[in-house]
């Protein structure tokens, strides 16, 4: 019985992984600008989801929240081997790499709100839930972040 339940949970989490991991990985990468952090945060979030199974009522939102919190936690750790992930830029088209670079110029809260909205497709209320913030605060970060991002991108285009 437990084996069956375990297989069902694993199947559901794998389906979730197939649906979300691409956007989630790029969103975390755009937030953290560190491929290792993105790899670790996404893998750890889904591994935790696998372990918790049915205790999670909204697994999609849960893994996004877990991945961003793990990434934010890892970014606070001093790491001598942290590096600018320039290889990432080579693998992307010029507009996308410009976008990734421009996101660096936003504050972490603005960046998180912007990538969760534009890559994750989440509303302000959902982003507030993911980031542990309030809808009003997220709206402010989104507004300021999008404004700042447009300015940076326009400067780059000129």
């Amino acid at each position: 019985m437990n084996d069956l339940r375990g297989r069902v949970i694993e199947s559901e989490i794998e389906r979730l992984y197939r649906d979300h991991s691409g956007r989630l990985w790029w969103a975390v990468l755009a937030f953290a600008h560190d491929r290792e952090v993105a790899n670790d945060a996404v893998a750890e979030a889904f591994a935790q989801a696998l372990r918790r199974g049915l205790a999670i009522r909204d697994p999609a939102r849960w893994v996004w929240r877990a991945a961003f919190r793990i990434a934010a936690g890892e970014l606070k750790q001093p790491r001598s081997d942290r590096y600018t992930d320039n290889q990432l830029v080579y693998e992307m088209s010029e507009p996308a790499s410009d976008l990734i670079e421009a996101l660096r110029k936003l504050s972490p809260k603005q960046r998180a709100a912007v990538v969760l909205h534009h890559v994750g497709g989440y509303s302000a209320a959902e982003i507030a839930s993911i980031l542990g913030s309030t809808r009003a605060a997220v709206k402010v970060h989104l507004s300021q972040g999008r404004k700042r991002l447009r300015m940076v991108l326009e400067e780059d285009d000129e």
Partner: protein, 205 residues
């Protein structure tokens, strides 16, 4: 589609590294592995949560005329932690309840696992206990008019290892200043209000 949406399209559609096999083999890390700073911030939030359930429990005790409901889950005392079985164990939050209330606390939680407590003016539905979610959806769906369900959740990032098994502090809450909203995606649909107290305090001192 906005100009920025168009810019972000490649990030939404580009494939990412496939880590599924690694995830299946991965041994999830305990919460503290992701940084001391999370634990420090967590201490504040945990005190908030601890205080919140005490105050809410007192605030919601009906004044008169309510009989104790048939208790499917029983009014539980907080279970004892089994410290000998795990290096770090946290007691779940505990709602004091009172006449006319059913209460429930989740079992002691190992570091990295969430814990929660509920109090309800109707019997807590057994399916919610078995389901193990932070919010009791079936109980909420059965609430009559003027019924109340109180939930408290302590999430892994809110534990503080230096205060095992469960840090406690007296703090008062004014429900008049609580955030009030309708049900959101994670909660059952229905015509009811959600009062949130404590959660926005993360990061305050």
């Amino acid at each position: 589609m906005s100009d920025l949406d168009e810019r972000f399209r490649e990030l939404r559609e580009k494939p990412a590294p496939d880590q599924w096999q690694d995830i299946q083999r991965r041994d999830p890390q305990p919460a503290q592995a992701h940084g001391r700073s999370r634990l420090l911030a967590a201490g504040v939030a945990l005190f908030v949560a601890a205080a919140a359930f005490v105050i809410l429990a007192r605030a919601f005790v009906p004044s008169t005329g309510t009989t104790a409901p048939a208790d499917q889950t029983s009014s539980t005392s907080p279970p004892s932690p089994t410290l000998s079985e795990a290096p770090v164990v946290f007691l779940a939050p505990y709602l004091n309840g009172g006449t006319g209330w059913s209460t429930y606390s989740s079992p002691p939680a190992k570091e990295g696992d969430p814990s929660y407590a509920w109090a309800s003016t109707i019997p807590i539905v057994q399916a919610d206990v078995q389901y193990g979610a932070a919010i009791p959806p079936s109980t909420i769906e059965h609430l009559p008019a003027n019924g109340i369900v109180v939930t408290v959740e302590v999430v892994p990032s809110e534990y503080q290892s230096s205060s095992v098994p469960f840090p406690y502090a007296e703090r008062s809450y004014d429900l008049g200043s609580a955030t009030v909203r309708g049900p959101e995606a994670e909660e059952p649909e229905g015509n009811y209000s959600v009062y949130i107290s404590g959660l926005p305090l993360r990061g305050r001192t």
